[in-house]
């Protein structure tokens, strides 16, 4: 059970407070409701580049990091297809420094051209380091546009290509800031050893006079239902052949989301999973195989991936995966298997709540999904899933027409 209080400011900023008096620290998490899905298809990678610029100084504070480090604080941020999230951890009695810094960069950035020029270079090096200069780094650059024909999930957060980052201008930066980085598009979460009244006072003091922006209306193109299977092959200088299969699945708020997640666990989570036992251990088709879901807010992907053993063909490996899927649909799922994946999901949840920061982030994410108290309902929802629910989703999701396959290897 994660307790929390909520309030909001007149400018639209939504605030969540979670108290934990057992730790000497406090977390300030600021979630902006903007991700790579909100980008112009000709200017991809921008949300993430923008995240870098948020550290390049704001209207009244030339440097973001040093004043925070000076009071013993630390911070970081990440960009996903759905959100951009900034978080600060400080010794609890220095919380106000986090308010000061975070509110000033919501008020206005420095918009320094030098910062833009350097961070473009840094992000291009990040692109190379993570996506180009290591084996399999570009798998999702290839796979996303195969699986999504229209929806902006078709590009990764780093962007489609380096030129999009190179071409970013200061005008783009300002436009993005005033469209998305307004209080009415953000959720502020304060967690840790804090007092509610004090948090209210500090929030009003530092965020209260930031003007709200025009409401942002998200109008994303809907991905058409996939009606024929897609298959592609990519050759790269890698030592091991791999296969990726993706299937379109429901959105995060859908009632079928958790059952589909548990379906992926039954097929491919851990060494006792069906795919691992059958295809790695018994038949020795793969050296490793997994199933998981992308976890996105809008309609996401169910993913099966495997490293194929030397001497086994792509087609054969693919066929073996499909055989396991058919077997699951035909023979059904036994109760022990369902209990197992529920226990795994439950204990993963308990372990994830050990630390303060994930608790704060989960609260903010739940709020974004429409109900902050979702954090406390997950366990109940996991327990309510039946083998029928799982099977129903297997029949709906894991079908050939809904599948995109990538053979990636030598």
């Amino acid at each position: 059970m994660i307790d929390f209080h909520e309030f909001s400011l007149d400018n639209g900023l939504q605030v969540i407070v979670h108290q934990d008096k057992t730790v000497p620290i406090a977390v300030l998490d600021l979630l902006y409701n903007v991700g790579s899905k909100d980008e112009n298809p000709e200017k991809t990678g921008f949300a993430h580049l923008f995240e870098h610029l948020m550290f390049g100084g704001s209207k009244n504070i030339p440097n973001y990091d040093s004043p925070l480090q000076k009071v013993g604080g630390d911070n970081n941020a990440f960009t996903s297809p759905d959100i951009t999230n900034y978080y600060v951890t400080v010794p609890a009695n220095n919380l106000e420094t986090a308010f000061w810094l975070e509110s000033d960069r919501m008020l206005e950035l420095s918009f320094d051209p030098e910062v833009l020029s350097v961070q473009k270079k840094v992000v291009i090096e990040e692109f190379k380091q993570r996506y180009l200069n290591q084996p399999y780094g570009d798998v999702w650059l290839k796979l996303r546009p195969l699986a999504y024909k229209i929806h902006p999930y078709q590009w990764p957060t780093i962007g489609k290509e380096i030129s999009h980052i190179e071409n970013a201008t200061m005008e783009d930066v300002k436009d993005f800031f005033y469209t998305h980085y307004r209080p009415n598009n953000a959720i502020l979460t304060i967690a840790g050893n804090v007092k509610l009244k004090e948090v209210e006072r500090l929030t009003k003091k530092w965020f209260g006079n930031i003007p709200s922006g025009k409401p942002y209306r998200r109008n994303l193109p809907e991905e058409p239902i996939q009606t024929t299977s897609r298959i592609a092959r990519h050759q790269a200088d890698v030592p091991v052949n791999t296969i990726y299969k993706t299937y379109h699945m429901c959105e995060k708020n859908d009632i079928n989301y958790i059952p589909t997640d548990l379906l992926s666990d039954i097929l491919g989570r851990g060494k006792s999973s069906r795919l691992y036992q059958s295809l790695v251990k018994e038949k020795k088709i793969f050296n490793g195989v997994n199933a998981s879901i992308s976890g996105s807010i809008e309609k996401g992907l169910f993913i099966i991936s495997g490293k194929i053993k030397e001497g086994i063909s792509y087609e054969n490996a693919d066929l073996e995966i499909q055989r396991e899927i058919s077997k699951l649909k035909e023979e059904s799922i036994n109760d022990d298997e369902v209990t197992k994946v529920k226990n795994q999901a439950e204990s993963t949840l308990s372990f994830s709540e050990l630390e303060l920061l994930p608790r704060a982030l989960n609260l903010a994410y739940s709020k974004l999904l429409g109900d902050t108290n979702l954090v406390n309902k997950t366990s109940e929802k996991i327990q309510a899933v039946t083998s029928k629910d799982i099977l129903r989703n297997a029949e709906k999701v894991l079908i050939q027409e809904n599948c995109t396959t990538l053979y990636y290897g030598k």
């Binding site: 057992t22 730790v23 000497p24 620290i25 209207k59 009244n60 504070i61 990091d65 040093s66 004043p67 480090q69 000076k70 009071v71 013993g72 604080g73 630390d74 400080v90 010794p91 009695n93 220095n94 106000e96 420094t97 000061w100 000033d104 020029s117 840094v122 090096e125 190379k128 380091q129 180009l132 200069n133 290591q134 084996p135 399999y136 530092w206 200088d237 890698v238 030592p239 091991v240 851990g270 060494k271 006792s272 999973s273 036992q277 790695v280 050296n287 053993k309 022990d336 209990t339 197992k340 226990n343 795994q344 439950e346 204990s347 308990s350 372990f351 709540e353 050990l354 630390e355 303060l356």
Partner: protein, 422 residues
């Protein structure tokens, strides 16, 4: 009117007492170190054996020995073992490090009792089925062939080889040829000699009640410990005078840089002073290297320096992946920053910032039962005084700008190995 240019006032960060693990002996004299803390009903149990790389007779065996432990025991097959753990939502991890082999269980505390008999079985009667060994070795070699394509993996391995020597247990590089040669019998024999029936230590943390300690004693305290540990002989010091190595890869768009050298143990009198020096140079996001090479020149996504403390040897390393055609500039700037630290005192404001940052990181690193246990483990294995963390912030604050310059001159001025890949 709110003055946004004025930072809010802040308080200095105070030392606080680390919760100390309570240590007991099981019936068989094995030591158990218990941290009872936290609000979630979870437990982490770690069992350590002196069977890491340092204790191998044959290179490459320790890793496979550890990974074979859950692959079959006297009464359970590999499949049954993973079903048992997964079925209860528990996690079993085996690790093999430079010094220790660890068998680790994460579970809800109510399930510990049900898992302990199986844990006993694994660490005493693992059967090392040949067919599982073959599969495991194949999978490992395949993964290794992927890692060997990563410049940063190759560069890190090469640095360790250069610092410690090709035949040193910390230094030898794990390559495919070496792993192909490892035999089933050699791996099994490491288990028989260094794990089964050998002394072990347990770290138990989370919501641990008396009953859990009793359960552990009942199952793991009955294991007869019959084999004394032989002390492995120390390999000869292999110092090389080849300080520069460059493996060029025409297809690479980035070059991995590693610069480093051997270091003293964590309990050495210079350790804390050096820790502050390391932080200034490359230990945090505001470090001099990060500011210069990433934030001013945009040559990299990141650059860091670290100290790595092992039981029988330690080292210092600067690591980064930089734009290939600018690698010489990056190198020049790295040495320039080191030279500045050797010749100019760190300004007071920067030094205070770094000290506060270290103090804050310290406070933030001790917030879960597992991290409290980790700190206790470091105290124990690094043979640090029991109050080491209780006055850590004071000790950091006592480090002066002169100390840092002295450390830079003593340890970083010369004899640094430089490895480039890509």
């Amino acid at each position: 009117m709110l003055d946004r240019k004025q930072p809010p006032s802040f308080s200095p960060i105070q030392d606080f007492k680390l919760i100390k693990a309570k240590s007991y002996q099981l019936d068989n004299q094995a030591k158990i170190h218990v941290v009872n803390a936290g609000r979630q009903p979870v437990i982490n149990m770690q069992i350590y054996f002196k069977a890491g790389r340092w204790h191998e007779h044959i290179k490459g065996t320790s890793f496979l020995t550890a990974k074979m432990i859950p692959e079959g025991s006297l009464l359970h097959s590999s499949k049954q073992i993973s079903q048992k753990f997964d079925g209860l939502g528990a996690f079993l991890e085996v690790s093999s490090g430079y010094d220790l082999v660890g068998v680790e269980v994460y579970c809800l505390n109510q399930h510990l009792e049900k898992l302990l008999p199986l844990v006993n079985e694994l660490i005493t009667t693992a059967t090392f089925p040949e067919v599982e060994f073959k599969g495991l070795k194949d999978r490992f070699i395949q993964q290794l062939s992927i890692n060997l394509q990563k410049n940063n993996y190759v560069a890190s391995a090469k640095l360790k080889e250069t610092i410690f020597g090709k035949d040193h247990p910390y230094g030898y590089a794990t390559d495919i040829e070496l792993m192909e040669k490892v035999q089933h019998a050699e791996v099994k024999s490491l288990f028989d000699e260094k794990i089964s029936g050998c002394p072990f230590e347990i770290f138990l943390s989370g919501q641990v009640e008396e009953a859990h300690i009793k359960q552990v004693n009942k199952e793991l305290g009955k294991i007869p410990i019959i084999k004394p540990l032989g002390k492995p002989s120390l390999p000869e010091d292999p110092l090389t005078d080849e300080f520069n190595y460059y493996e060029e890869k025409p297809e690479s768009v980035q070059t991995s840089i590693r610069i480093g050298k051997k270091l003293f143990p964590k309990k050495h009198e210079d350790a804390l002073k050096f820790e502050v020096l390391n932080e200034v140079l490359g230990g945090y996001f505001g470090s001099r290297l990060m500011k210069n090479i990433r934030e001013e020149k945009g040559l990299t996504y990141g650059i860091h320096s670290n100290m790595v403390f092992l039981h029988n040897g330690s080292y210092f390393v600067i690591g980064t992946d930089v734009k290939k055609d600018k690698k010489d500039i990056a190198l020049e700037e790295i040495y320039k920053e080191i030279n500045i630290l050797c010749t100019q005192a760190v300004p007071e404001e920067e030094l205070n910032l770094v000290k506060n940052y270290l103090a804050g990181s310290h406070i933030k690193s001790i917030n879960t039962p597992f991290s409290i246990s980790e700190h206790n483990k470091t105290l124990y294995f690094s043979k640090l005084p029991e109050n080491y963390y209780d006055n850590y912030i004071k000790k950091i604050n006592d480090v002066s700008a002169e100390d840092i310059m002295e450390m830079a001159n003593k340890y970083l001025k010369s004899d640094l190995y430089e490895i480039l890949v890509g």
